[in-house]
C-alpha cells in the first residue's frame, strides 16, 4: 500500500506550478495564487497575528492536533521540531494553527498550547487558534498535519503533506522525502517548487 501511495505522490512530484481549481466542498487555497488572508489569536497573547503582517518573510503554516497519531509521529521523532528550528533559524515565520473546535480532540487553551510547545521542545514563531475553522477552510486544510508554504509576496507556493510517507509509523520518518523542506529551499533560492501540491495525510481536522 505504501508502495502505491509513493507512486502517487511521485506522480504528483512532476506537477508544474499550474493553477488549481477551488475545491467544491472545502474551498482550497490555490498554489501560485495569493494565500488566503487570516487574522488569528496567538497563544502568546498580544494582538491578533495576520498573514498580511508577514510580508517580506517566508511563512510556513502547520495545521496541528497534538493528539493525532500522525502529528505525534512527527513530534515524537523530533522531525517537526527540527524542521521548525531550521526554518525559523533562517528567518522563516512558522505559524502552527489549531482548527479543532472547542470540545473536540486537539482543542487546547493558550496555557496548554504554550505548555505543549515547551514540553515538546517545539519552535514555532506562534501558535494560532482558529476555533471557528474559518482559516482552515479557506486553505482547504483537511488533516493534521496539513502544511503550507507562502512566499515573501504572500503567494502560496506549497500545499500538502509534510513528506512522502503517509503512515503513522515513527520508523517511516527516516529516509522520507520532506516536501516542506524542499519547498522552503526552492523558494529561498528563487527556484520553482518541484512538488507544489500533494495529498496531505493524517487525521481529519475536527472542525466546528
Amino acid at each position: 500500500m505504501i508502495h502505491r501511495r509513493d507512486l502517487l505522490i511521485g506522480a504528483a512530484a512532476f506537477a508544474g506550478a499550474s493553477v488549481i481549481r477551488p475545491r467544491q466542498v472545502v474551498a482550497a487555497a490555490t498554489v501560485g495564487q495569493p494565500a488566503p488572508a487570516f487574522s488569528l489569536v496567538s497563544s502568546g497573547g498580544g494582538p491578533a497575528v495576520s498573514l498580511a503582517d508577514q510580508r517580506g518573510k517566508l511563512v510556513v503554516l502547520e495545521w496541528t492536533n497534538h493528539d493525532c497519531p500522525y502529528v505525534r509521529k512527527h513530534y515524537e521523532t523530533q522531525n517537526m521540531q527540527r524542521l521548525q528550528k531550521d526554518a525559523t533559524g533562517r528567518g522563516v515565520v512558522w505559524l502552527t494553527v489549531i482548527s479543532s473546535a472547542p470540545g473536540t480532540q486537539g482543542h487546547v487553551s493558550a496555557a496548554q498550547a504554550n505548555e505543549l510547545t515547551k514540553s515538546r521542545g517545539a519552535a514555532p514563531t506562534a501558535v494560532l487558534f482558529d476555533p471557528t475553522g474559518v482559516a482552515g477552510k479557506a486553505y482547504g486544510a483537511t488533516v493534521t498535519p496539513h502544511m503550507y508554504v507562502v512566499n515573501k509576496d504572500g503567494v502560496l507556493m506549497y500545499a500538502g503533506a509534510i513528506d512522502d510517507r503517509p503512515t503513522s509509523r515513527r520508523s517511516d520518518v527516516d529516509g522520507a522525502q520532506n516536501y516542506v523542506r524542499a519547498a522552503l529551499d526552492a523558494v529561498a533560492a528563487g527556484q520553482p517548487v518541484k512538488t507544489p501540491l500533494t495529498r496531505a495525510y493524517g487525521c481529519t481536522i475536527k472542525y466546528a
Partner: protein, 694 residues
C-alpha cells in the same frame, strides 16, 4: 476474535517450539478493531494457491480504510513473515463505502470486513506437515478521532496431498467475499473534464434507469475527483454518466482515471451492489473527432461496397443502363436524376436510422436491420424484389417499363422515379452488410444521435455515390451505346435478385415457421400472376382490360394480406442473436421444458435479459465458468436460457408461475419433484451445491 484464536491454539501448542508461542496476539480491551487471520481452506495442497483474509470486526461508529483512503486515513497493511517458498499477493480490496467525516470524505469499511489475500505455497511441501503463516497487520481506525492499531496475526494449516477441504467456519464467508470483489468492467469508459467537474461516461447500453438505485465512483488515486463531492447520475439508452466535482490536482485529468464503479441495482429480492473496475480514458474533443471522422470514412466505404451486394447491384445497374441509354441527354437532366436518386437514398437512410435511434432511446434492444425482425416486412421486401426480378427477366414492364425508363428521362415523373429508386435502393440494401459497415454502425449506436445520424447518412452517401458521379459526369459518357448486350445484361441481373428473394424467404421461414413460409410462397405466386396479367393485357380493351386489372389488383392485395399470416416471433429472441450476444445454453420454451421434464432430465432455467447487469455478470462469471458447465455436464443438466430482453408472454408467464415479474430468475428442476429457486446473485458454489444435490 478470542474464539477464533482459540481454534488455532491447540495446533500452535502441539506443533510449536518456543518460537511459535511468542506472538499470540494480546487483545487490548480498548482495541477498536478485533483482527484475525482466517483461511478459506482447512488445509494446504502443495503448490496450489489458496485464499486467506484479514478479518476485521470494527467497533460501531468507527471505520477502517480502503486502498484509496479518501481525504484522510490510511489503508491496512500486512507485512508477511511467511515460511520459505511462500508468496503472498497484495490485498484484494473489497468494495468500500463512502464514510463522510465533517466536510471530508473517507472511503472505507464499517462493522466487519474481510481483506482477502492469495497465498501461493511451494510445490515441495510434505503432506502431513503443518505450516504457520504470520504477518504484522497494521491499520488506522477512525471515528471523529483516529487510532493506529497493529497486531501480529498467525494461522496454522496442515499440508494434505489431495483436494484441500473448505474451512468450516470461514470457507463460505471468504468465498462469498471473493465473489463480491470488483470485476473488470465489461463496458468501455471515458471521461470529460470541465473547469469544475469530471463527467464519467460508461457505455453500458440498455440499462433501465428505474432499476438503478445508485451509482458511486471510487477513484484509486487522489487528485482527479473531489472525494467529498456529490456524484450526479444520468442513465440513458447508451449508458450512464456520473458527474463529479473536479479534484485538486490539475494534471490528474490529463491521464486515464482508474477506480471502482459501484452499481446498486434493484432486484426483486432487494438491492444488489456490484463493483466494476473501470479505466476511463480522457475524451477530449481532439480525441473524439478522429473517431467520428474514422467512423464516417468507414461508413462511406461500406456504403460504396453496398453497391456490389446482390440486393443492390441489379437495381443500380438498371439505373445506370437507363442513364447510358440516353448518354446524349442534357447534362442538367442527368444531374437532376443523380441528385434525386441521392436524395431518395439519404432520406431513406435518415428514416431508418432515425427510427432505429428513436426506438433505442425508448429502451428497445434493437440493432441495424431491425426491421428485418418483422416477418411482414421481410415478406413485403421479398415481393418487391421478386417483382423487380420479373421485370428484369422481361415478364413485365413496370410503369413505362424498366428498360424504357430512359425514355422518360426528361419527364418529371422520371426524376420522381429516380428519387423512389434511391429510396428502394436504401431499403433493399439494409439486409446486406458490406465490409466496414459493422464497425461504423457499432460505433454509431453508442454515440449521441447527431453523430449516429451522420454515420448513417455517410453510409447512404456511399451507396448513392457511384450513380451520382455517373450522373454528374461532364459531357458524353464514353461507353458503347446500349443494345443487345445491355438487354442480356439486364436479364442476367435478375438472378442476383432471385437469389436475394430466396434468402429472404429462408429468413422468413426461421421467423414465421411453415405457415408463414407457405403464405409467403403463395404470395410470390400471386405476384407472378399479377405481373404476367398486367403485361399480357397491356394492349387489351374494354371489359377484358377491366377484368385483368381487377384480378391483378386482387392478386397483389391477397399476396399482401397473406403476409399477415406470418405469426411474428418475439423480436427479442431474434435480436439477442442478431446482436451477436453469446447466450449460454439452449433457448427456453415451455414445450422444451415439458419435454425434458417428461424424459426425467434435470433442467436449469436461466431467465435473463440484455439490460439486466446482474444477469450478465452472473452469466459471465458463474454460468460460463468451467466448474459450473462441468458440473452441469456431470449431472446431465440441460441449461435453458430464456431471454426476456423484449416482452415475451411465454417467459412472462414462466416468471409469473414463480410469482416474479423480473429477472434474473434461476430455477433448477430435478429429475422429479419440486424445482429449486437459486438466489439472484449467483456464486459458483451456490450453483454447484444445488447441482450436486441432484
Amino acid at each position: 476474535m478470542l474464539a477464533g484464536m482459540l481454534r488455532w491454539l491447540p495446533a500452535v501448542v502441539l506443533f510449536s517450539c518456543a518460537s511459535f508461542a511468542a506472538p499470540m496476539p494480546a487483545v487490548a480491551e480498548d482495541r477498536k478493531v478485533a483482527t484475525q487471520l482466517v483461511a478459506e481452506v482447512a488445509a494446504i495442497r502443495p503448490g496450489e494457491p489458496f485464499w486467506v483474509a484479514l478479518h476485521q470486526r470494527i467497533t460501531p461508529g468507527w471505520h477502517t480504510y480502503w486502498r484509496n483512503a479518501g481525504d484522510s486515513g490510511e489503508p491496512a497493511t500486512l507485512a508477511w513473515r511467511l515460511p520459505n517458498g511462500f508468496t503472498a499477493d497484495e490485498i484484494a480490496w473489497p468494495v468500500p463505502e463512502r464514510v463522510p467525516v465533517g466536510p471530508a470524505m473517507s472511503f472505507g469499511f464499517t462493522n466487519e470486513v474481510l481483506l482477502p489475500v492469495r497465498i501461493t505455497p511451494p510445490a515441495d511441501l510434505r503432506p502431513g506437515d503443518r505450516v504457520v503463516l504470520r504477518a504484522d497487520a497494521s491499520w488506522l481506525v477512525c471515528a471523529d478521532i483516529c487510532i493506529p492499531e497493529e497486531a501480529p496475526v498467525l494461522l496454522t494449516l496442515p499440508v494434505v496431498a489431495g483436494a484441500p477441504p473448505a474451512d468450516a467456519r470461514w470457507g463460505p464467508a471468504l468465498a462469498a467475499a471473493r465473489a463480491a470483489l470488483p470485476r473488470t468492467s465489461p463496458w468501455p469508459a471515458s471521461f470529460a473534464a470541465s473547469a469544475e467537474t469530471v463527467t464519467l461516461t460508461v457505455a453500458a447500453p440498455g440499462l433501465r434507469a428505474e432499476r438503478i438505485a445508485a451509482v458511486e465512483f471510487f477513484p484509486y488515486a487522489w487528485g482527479p475527483i473531489a472525494h467529498a463531492g456529490a456524484q450526479t447520475l444520468a442513465v440513458s439508452a447508451t449508458g450512464l454518466e456520473l458527474r463529479m466535482p473536479r479534484g485538486p490536482l490539475p494534471e490528474a485529468v490529463t491521464r486515464p482515471i482508474e477506480g471502482l464503479l459501484v452499481v446498486s441495482e434493484r432486484l426483486d429480492s432487494g438491492v444488489a451492489r456490484q463493483a466494476f473496475e473501470v479505466r476511463a480514458e480522457p475524451a477530449r474533443a481532439a480525441a473524439l473527432w478522429p473517431a467520428v471522422a474514422g467512423a464516417l470514412g468507414l461508413a462511406l466505404l461500406g456504403g460504396l461496397l453496398l453497391n456490389l451486394m446482390p440486393c443492390v447491384l441489379p437495381l443500380l445497374s438498371v439505373k445506370a443502363l437507363a442513364l447510358l441509354a440516353h448518354a446524349d441527354a442534357s447534362a442538367s437532366t442527368r444531374r437532376h436524376h443523380g441528385l434525386a436518386y441521392t436524395a431518395g437514398v439519404l432520406l431513406a437512410f435518415g428514416a431508418v436510422g432515425g427510427a432505429l435511434l428513436a426506438l433505442r432511446a425508448g429502451g428497445e434492444q434493437i440493432g441495424w436491420g431491425f426491421h428485418l425482425q418483422s416477418p411482414v416486412f421481410v415478406a413485403l421486401l421479398a415481393y418487391v424484389l421478386f417483382a423487380m426480378a420479373l421485370a428484369l427477366s422481361g415478364v413485365v414492364m413496370i410503369g413505362a417499363g424498366l428498360s424504357a425508363v430512359g425514355s422518360g428521362l426528361a419527364a418529371r415523373s422520371g426524376v420522381r422515379g429516380s428519387f423512389f429508386a434511391g429510396g428502394l435502393a436504401a431499403v433493399v440494401a439494409t439486409p446486406c452488410t458490406a465490409p466496414f459497415m459493422a464497425t461504423a454502425l457499432g460505433y454509431a449506436i453508442t454515440q449521441p444521435p447527431l453523430v449516429a445520424l451522420a454515420v448513417f447518412e455517410a453510409l447512404g452517401l456511399g451507396l448513392a455515390l457511384p450513380y451520382l458521379l455517373l450522373a454528374l459526369a461532364p459531357g458524353r459518357l464514353p461507353v458503347p451505346r446500349p443494345g443487345r448486350w445491355s438487354q442480356r445484361l439486364e436479364q442476367a441481373l435478375a438472378f442476383p435478385l432471385y437469389g436475394t428473394v430466396a434468402w429472404l424467404v429462408w429468413v422468413l421461414s426461421q421467423q414465421a415457421g411453415p405457415v408463414g413460409l407457405g403464405a409467403c410462397l403463395a404470395g410470390l405466386v400471386l405476384i407472378a400472376l399479377a405481373a404476367w396479367l398486367h403485361e399480357a393485357t397491356r394492349a387489351a380493351r374494354g371489359a377484358w382490360r377491366l377484368t385483368a386489372r381487377v384480378v391483378t389488383a386482387a392478386s397483389v392485395i391477397v399476396a399482401v394480406g397473406l403476409t399477415q399470416l406470418a405469426p411474428g416471433v418475439p423480436a427479442g429472441r431474434a435480436d439477442g442473436r442478431a446482436a451477436g450476444k453469446e447466450v449460454a445454453g439452449e433457448r427456453y420454451s415451455a414445450t422444451r421444458l415439458a419435454e425434458l421434464r417428461a424424459a426425467g432430465t434435470p433442467v436449469f432455467v436461466n431467465v435473463t435479459a440484455a439490460w439486466c447487469i446482474t444477469c450478465l455478470v452472473n452469466e459471465r462469471v458463474v454460468l460460463r465458468a468451467p466448474a459450473v458447465t462441468e458440473g452441469f455436464a456431470r449431472r446431465g443438466v440441460v441449461h435453458l436460457t430464456a431471454d426476456w430482453t423484449n416482452r415475451d408472454p411465454e417467459i412472462t408467464r414462466m416468471l409469473g408461475s414463480f410469482e416474479r415479474n423480473g429477472v434474473p430468475l434461476y430455477v433448477l428442476y430435478p429429475r422429479s419433484g419440486a424445482p429449486t429457486l437459486l438466489p439472484q446473485i449467483l456464486t459458483e458454489r451456490a450453483v454447484l451445491d444445488v447441482v450436486d444435490r441432484l
